[in-house]
């Protein structure tokens, strides 16, 4: 059976014994063998472990204890700790690090019976928008291997796009799930801050980090979220709330106008300058499609959102400089071979273990937190963060969902932006606000450029309104077929 099917189709095939988990897993492993040399999406392949999990899943299904995800292959971003498996964060610092325990979301998906086939490539410590910052080499976009897949969860996005696995995990600190989802032509969801525990997610910027799923459809993201969400006392920011079924609205019969009553906010700031013309016209066409599905649109204003990228590039590096101080060559990871004394060991270990972008962000973060600059940068950024959050709170009084492009352009060529960090950072212009505010947001495919590269549509909702967000995306996908298109290598 091919892995082009949705999670619910795969689950039905497994329940009806038209496929076994071992067959699905062998298919995924064979596709890694065939395609990974071209796209470098996987850093670790867990062949024996996967087949063993698949056999256990088959037994579980045979015993009648399977759930909707049991027996289905999955891949985890290599920033998520996976007990007994290498977890490198795309860094030389952790090139040989075997995680001693598993992240909450990894545990949850294992409990649901998903079969881990491997760990996916990423920008080092999740810092990047092109996956070119990996110590293990860049990931290539399955739609055009001269192009980047987006980042930082580029390996997971490419693995789903190439139909190697039907779903994968990622993490999103400034757009690292949604931007690669857009550039690789798949769906990616960043849930509300606190909904999915960060336990076992190797920290980049703790107030902005979110684990979340990739899938081919919004409905698949909803199924993944059902398993990934939940309270966890080991993450002090994990929110205790009643579990929800995020798929509950998706199958309601609503006739030809399924989005009647839904108000979509169109921020004028997301439809202005700096957006590629093909992206803008695909997003305009999506707006027309939403109107034909019964949604109404309303113009909203987000005047402070233009400061999102500068605010983000103070807060995220500040938190990173603190979080990454743990990599000192003492308790785990790389240690320099030669050094004079303890201070020299720290300096050489970190100079060798971190790549250029990670070092830049640590330096920026160290500076903005240093004596005399804290108020001017870090405190100021936190104040502007509040203004941005207030803008969204006002917008959500007038609409249910805020819509715009996910990224200002489709995938760009490898190497095109590596020498200009600021130009690279501006890829996050439409995604970072959801991290600063903690609101849920997802990217779904909404068209293609003339060059055949996917375009992503960004939808953002109120805190904890994932069920509606996913329903709005699902209704669009019922009426369009962008999400069903697969790159040549997956056909």
């Amino acid at each position: 059976m091919r892995l082009h099917a949705s999670l619910s189709e795969l689950s039905r095939a497994l329940a009806e014994r038209n496929a076994s988990s071992v067959e699905l897993t062998e298919t995924a492993l064979a596709r890694i063998d065939a395609l990974n040399p071209n796209i470098n999406a996987f850093l670790t392949v867990e062949r024996e472990r996967a087949l063993e999990s698949a056999r256990a899943a088959d037994r579980r299904i045979a015993a009648g204890n399977g759930g909707p995800l049991t027996g289905i292959p999955v891949a985890h971003k290599d920033v998520l700790m996976t007990a007994g498996v290498k977890t490198t964060c795309g860094s030389r610092m952790l090139a040989n690090f075997v995680a001693p325990y598993s992240a909450f979301v990894v545990e949850r998906l294992a409990d649901a019976g998903m079969v881990l086939v491997g760990k996916t490539n990423m920008d080092e410590f999740a810092m990047g928008s092109s996956n070119e910052n990996s110590y293990f080499g860049p990931v290539r976009n399955p739609w055009n291997t001269d192009c980047v897949p987006g980042g930082s969860s580029g390996g997971s996005a490419a693995a789903v796009a190439a139909r190697i696995v039907p779903a994968a995990t990622g993490t999103d600190t400034g757009g690292s799930i949604r931007q690669p989802a857009a550039l690789s032509g798949v769906c990616g969801l960043k849930p509300t801050y606190g909904l999915c525990s960060r336990y076992g997610l190797v920290a980049f910027a703790s107030s902005l980090d979110h684990p979340g799923p990739f899938g081919q459809t919004a409905a698949d993201c909803a199924l993944m979220l059902n398993a990934m969400a939940g309270h966890d006392a080991r993450d002090s920011t994990s929110v205790a709330r009643e579990p929800e079924d995020y798929t509950r609205a998706l199958s309601e019969a609503r006739g030809a106008k399924p989005l009647s009553g839904v108000k979509i906010g169109l921020p004028r700031e997301y439809f202005g300058e700096g957006i590629d013309a093909e992206v803008a016209s695909a997003v305009d066409a999506a707006v027309a499609e939403f109107r034909s599905l019964g949604a109404t649109t309303v113009e909203v204003e987000l005047p402070a959102v233009k400061h999102s990228v500068p605010v983000y590039y103070v807060i995220a590096p500040a938190e990173a400089s603190s979080n990454l101080s743990r990599f000192d060559g003492v308790r785990y990871g790389h240690r320099a071979a030669q050094y004079d004394d303890l201070a020299d060991m720290y300096k050489k270990t970190r100079a060798e273990g971190f790549g250029a972008e990670v070092k830049r962000r640590i330096l920026v973060g160290t500076y903005v937190l240093s004596h005399g600059y804290y108020d001017a940068y870090y405190l100021k950024a936190q104040q502007v963060r509040r203004l941005i959050a207030d803008d969204f709170a006002r917008a959500f009084e007038r609409c249910d969902v805020v819509l715009g492009p996910t990224a200002p352009s489709a995938a760009f060529k490898l190497g095109a932006k590596v020498d200009d960090p600021v130009e690279m950072y501006l890829n996050d212009i439409f995604t970072v606000a959801a991290n600063l505010t903690g609101t849920p947001a997802l990217s779904i495919p909404c068209g293609f450029t003339r060059a055949g590269l996917p375009i992503g549509l960004h939808l953002q909702a109120h805190h904890f309104d994932e069920a509606r967000l996913l329903d709005v995306a699902h209704r669009y996908q019922q009426a369009t077929d962008w999400h069903t298109r697969a790159p040549e290598m997956a056909r």
Binding site: V98, Y193, G194, S207, A233, S236, T237, V239, A304, H307, V309, P310, V311, Y313, S321, S325, D328, V330, R331, Y332, G333, H334, Y339, D340, D341, L342, A343, D344, M345, Y346, K347, K348, R350, A351, F354, K359, R360, I362, L363, V364, T366, Y367, V368, S370, A376, Y377, K380, A381, Q382, Q383, V384, R385, R386, L387, A389, D420, P421, V422, N435, G438
Partner: protein
């Protein structure tokens, strides 16, 4: 605001990252670009705005002061670059 090469070396020292003189020039060029982007934010009027340190307005939860973890030191120390008798080894700091 432009950072001098001395500034770069001072920040690198605070961050405990060794940077060669040649690297410092390149780092300076890129950090200048990044701070040009960041400085745009400093002109925003934030008089009276309460800083937002977190995406959720929540108080940190407390738990009972009870042992919840078992001893993992052997497993965790198996990941360390150098250990001896259950201790992490570092270069000598006291003569």
């Amino acid at each position: 605001m432009a950072l001098s090469l001395e500034d770069i070396q001072r920040i690198a020292h605070l961050a405990r990252i060794e940077i060669t003189a040649a690297e410092a020039v390149e780092v300076q060029r890129k950090l200048d670009g990044i701070f040009e982007l960041i400085n745009e934010m400093r002109a925003v009027d934030t008089t009276g705005i309460v800083p937002m340190s977190h995406a959720q307005e929540m108080t940190l939860p407390l738990r009972r002061d009870r042992v919840t973890e078992t001893d993992h030191h052997a497993l965790y120390q198996s990941l360390a670059p150098a250990v001896h008798d259950g201790l992490y080894l570092v270069p000598k700091v006291i003569e």
